[in-house]
């Protein structure tokens, strides 16, 4: 069916009625394209997100921390696969999507272009980055596209562990020696603002937001989600005596929200467009990992071919 006005009206009526759109349903070409872009970008973020944390697996301070971090990084790989599998239902192959990541054609979340300098950064990532991701993904669990929404439900269930392990790391450091506490505060200072940027530009400056909202992919605006994250996090920081690095942070009695200072969108734009601290290193590491895995793919294919050949005479 072409994108006729009638078809689009019927499609939008289904979304307005709260129905989910499933892979074989008719959908406007633009809806399909926007979903492929958004979902693959999300999947790539899960995959690239393993890199800053993988950096610390061998240096985790205790076995307990190491087990937790390994399990978290393994989850991120799984989350990437859930979303790639959802994206494939839109008629695009995973190999093609991975290729777009490796050639730099596709984007991933800019937050992963910042370095993990100390162990406290692992705590800050779990607390802030996964905390922000949960706020965003809880909203996406109600997205109009069924496979995306279902992948989000699965991911949200698992990510609460990520956030809590991060917060526990920060709480432990904050209650430790003065040096440990300084390390925790330094990580908070570096990760707070990039975490707020994760929600994307203000809705009025976000080119894709209006369309995604109209089609029920996004149910809440970037600013609303960002505010929700700030409101949730302030009390958590107070509880472990760490300061969020924003002199303007104060409760706003009129709205009941925490007012926060202006975000440096120039920095955001620089990092999105490839000039963050680690953009090149992250892509190089992904390409290396992909080519290092070539022998595994070859071996599995050879194994399957051998078994197919062995089974063939019996089947004939």
């Amino acid at each position: 069916m072409p994108d006729s006005p009638d078809a689009i009206t019927e499609f939008e009526a289904r979304i307005a009625a709260g129905e989910t759109i499933e892979p074989k349903d008719w959908m406007p070409d633009r809806y399909r394209k926007q979903l492929i872009r958004m979902m693959s970008q999300h999947a790539h973020s899960e995959v690239v997100g393993m890199l800053p944390e993988g950096n610390w697996i061998t240096r985790a301070p205790t076995l307990r921390r190491k087990m937790g971090l390994l399990a978290k990084v393994q989850d991120e790989a799984g989350h990437g696969l859930y979303i790639y599998c959802g994206t494939e239902t839109l008629g695009v192959g995973r190999a093609e999507l991975v290729d777009q990541l490796l050639t730099g054609k596709a984007k991933y979340s800019s937050i992963f272009n910042y370095p993990t300098l100390t162990w406290a950064d692992i705590g800050a990532i779990g607390w802030f980055v996964d905390g922000a991701a949960i706020v965003n993904q809880t909203m996406l669990a109600k997205a109009s596209y069924g496979p995306y929404a279902r992948a989000m439900v699965r991911i949200c269930k698992e990510e609460n562990f990520h956030k809590r392990q991060g917060y526990e790391i920060m709480a432990t450091l904050a209650a430790g020696t003065p040096e440990q506490k300084r390390m925790a505060q330094d990580a908070v200072n570096r990760w707070w603002w990039p975490s707020l940027m994760m929600f994307g530009p203000s809705d009025k400056d976000s080119p894709n937001s209006a369309e995604l909202t109209r089609w029920g992919v996004k149910r809440k605006g970037n600013d609303e989600l960002r505010q929700r994250f700030v409101n949730l996090t302030v009390a958590q920081a107070v509880a472990i005596d760490l300061k969020l690095p924003d002199p303007e942070l104060r409760p706003d009695p009129a709205t009941g929200d925490w007012h926060f200072g202006p975000i440096d969108w120039d920095e955001f734009s620089r990092v999105v467009h490839g000039d963050g601290p680690l953009n090149r290193e992250r892509l190089a590491a992904r390409r290396q990992a992909h080519s290092d895995g070539e022998w595994v793919r070859e071996a599995a294919s050879a194994y399957a071919a051998k078994h197919t050949a062995a089974a063939a005479p019996a089947a004939a």
């Binding site: 399990a71 599998c85 995973r94 093609e96 599995a300 294919s301």
Partner: protein, 102 residues
């Protein structure tokens, strides 16, 4: 993927398998997602690693995606109609005397 449902790599990536998992306590199998794998055995292992990291399942099925025959959304009206116009299949269709719990 071949027409008879036999997995065969087509575009340089491994064939796709749909994954169904059965939660503990006798619940029915539920679709979890999909995996790429060279054969059924490795599809099972991949499905275990991807979809059951926290004891979510006691059984897994993997099925070549091409082996699934599905209803067509565009025809869902007439296709499901035989069931939709028979209210007498529901208990609420039948009236009972007031005050009696049936």
């Amino acid at each position: 993927m071949a027409d008879d449902g036999t997995p065969a790599p087509s575009d340089g990536q491994w064939p796709l398998w749909e994954v169904f998992v059965q939660p503990p306590r006798g619940e029915p199998f539920e679709h979890a997602g999909s995996v790429h794998a060279v054969d059924a055995e490795s599809a099972l292992q991949n499905a275990r690693d991807v979809y059951t990291r926290r004891g979510e399942a006691v059984n897994i099925w993997v099925v070549p995606t091409a082996a699934i025959t599905a209803s067509t959304p565009a025809d869902s009206g007439p296709f499901f109609d035989p069931g939709n116009d028979k209210p007498y299949r529901h208990p609420q269709f039948y009236s009972v005397p007031r005050g009696v719990r049936v």
